[in-house]
């Protein structure tokens, strides 16, 4: 009987702790605690990560190490060439577009995106197998803010979902809760890229206005304001087209190998625009009595240099 009552007390205490924790989490009151914890844990994670990296880096078999190094260099070269190729194609397409409009010098100057960046080291990942989130060792102190795009030399990684003084959580584009406005490089058809659990990305809502070819590159379209235009997302590996459907779909293999990310770049000069929040605010401010009217949202540009 005594055993039963002590067990009941334990259960009640545990339930209380969880309920209080959940309520505090919903109210956002746990953010300081979480920040404090990660602030303390981040240096430890960094040390552990570097220790593991040094052990793996040294290796016991020299051949393996050489081969791995060569493979890494070749992959890096392929990535660089692919990105360069994509960039040149984009410049060409942009040039064409601008020529058609004739006023390119004023409205669409040929510019190269030179966003300021912060190099962050991946020090930890999500402790469960469902979500695709990374923790990097840069935060508010280095100018990181929520929503900033995160990339590697190969392409888009994701965006900053939460940020602390010396850490930031990055939601990867492969997470099922992630979606990115995208454009197919050759056909110029637009759609939405979404993550799928343990699988390649899927591009949906692609209009039936033209054919999509396997191997076509997929880039960020800049629509929605979360990512700058023209970043590489991946490559089409399968097309799902049916004439009776209003849209076609494509399976896209991400350009980034998410299993092997070690360092990332955070585009600190790109200011993401929360279009949904802006529209909601607009709706609320327009009042209940009159029909909602939308006025243009002030656009913010990424830092660009001619």
């Amino acid at each position: 009987m005594k055993d039963l009552s002590s067990r009941s007390i334990i259960f009640a205490t545990l339930a209380l702790i969880i309920v209080v924790g959940l309520v505090l989490d919903e109210l956002g009151a746990l953010v300081p605690l979480e920040g404090l914890f990660l602030q303390l844990a981040t240096p430890i994670q960094r040390i552990v990560d570097r220790a593991v990296e040094s052990v793996i880096g040294e290796g016991s078999l020299r051949d393996m190490r050489t081969l791995r190094e060569e493979n890494k260099q070749l992959k890096s070269l392929v990535d660089q060439l692919m990105v360069e190729n994509v960039r040149l194609k984009e410049v060409e397409a942009q040039n064409e577009d601008l020529r058609r409009k004739l006023n390119f010098a004023e409205t669409h100057p040929q510019y190269t995106l030179r966003a300021a960046e912060v190099r962050g080291r991946v020090i930890a990942a999500e402790p469960n197998n469902f979500m695709s989130v990374l923790i990097i060792d840069v935060g508010k102190r280095t100018g990181i803010r929520q929503g900033m795009p995160v990339i590697t030399e190969s392409g888009v990684v994701g965006h900053v979902r939460a940020v602390g003084p010396n850490w930031a959580r990055v939601l990867l584009i492969v997470d099922p809760s992630s979606s990115v406005a995208a454009v197919l490089q050759d056909s110029r058809l637009q759609g939405i890229i979404s993550g799928r659990l343990g699988q390649d990305l899927i591009m949906t809502y692609i209009p039936q206005e033209g054919p999509i070819s396997v191997g076509e590159m997929v880039l960020t379209s800049g629509v929605g304001g979360y990512y700058p235009k023209g970043l590489v997302i991946g490559q089409v590996i399968e097309v799902m087209q049916n004439d009776i459907e209003p849209f076609q779909q494509a399976i896209v293999r991400p350009a980034v190998n998410f299993e092997q990310i070690e360092t990332v770049l955070v585009l600190t000069s790109f200011e993401p625009i929360d279009v949904d929040a802006a529209l909601q605010a607009e709706d609320q401010s327009s009042g209940a009595e009159s029909a909602p009217t939308l006025t243009p949202i002030p656009t913010q540009k990424a830092t660009v240099t001619p």
Binding site: E126, P127, Q199
Partner: protein, 166 residues
């Protein structure tokens, strides 16, 4: 077991799970060290200590995770209690015990996480969940439970011996 020692040990495990284990992939998933440790300790020390480990370990995982606070804690508590009931049986030191319990515990743990994520608006296809995460996790954790269990059994015996000496 001393609570402070448990917190320290579980902090180390949480750090390893979020830092080192993402580099290790078994059947496409990362092994769940905290779950294996909590289940092992529940088998060795009973439901009450197992639940204490689940509470501390769960909170640590929740602090490392981007998911809603409490999700890992609830999932670990749900599986720690039934796993600890086996402690009073004659087979508690049998190596078969963790091998039998861990697949069921992993299944329960993943399903609670899944339900929690669904309730908080995170969606993906159920067939993908089962095919790509739940079933491979059951396999990976079953494959790796014995080293963890044996290590914790050694710790448990050492602590138990110290208590008897005192």
């Amino acid at each position: 077991m001393n609570v402070y020692l448990a917190i320290l040990l579980l902090f180390v495990l949480a750090t390893v799970q979020s830092t080192i284990l993402p580099r290790l992939t078994v059947w496409g998933v990362h092994p769940e060290l905290m779950l294996m440790a909590v289940i092992s300790w529940s088998i060795l020390s009973g439901a009450e200590e197992g639940m204490l480990w689940a509470l501390i370990g769960g909170i640590l995982l929740d602090l490392f995770s981007a998911s809603h606070f409490g999700l890992h804690t609830i999932a670990l508590l749900v599986v720690a209690f039934p796993s600890g009931l086996g402690q009073r049986t004659l087979f508690r030191s049998d190596l078969l015990m963790p091998l039998l319990i861990i697949p069921l515990a992993t299944l329960g743990y993943e399903l609670v996480l899944l339900a929690g994520l669904y309730l908080t608006g995170w969606t993906a296809s159920l067939s993908a969940y089962f095919g790509q995460v739940v079933m491979p996790s059951v396999g990976a954790n079953t494959l790796l439970i014995l080293p963890i269990y044996l290590l914790l059994r050694a710790v448990h015996r050492r602590l138990h011996r110290q208590e008897i000496t005192l």
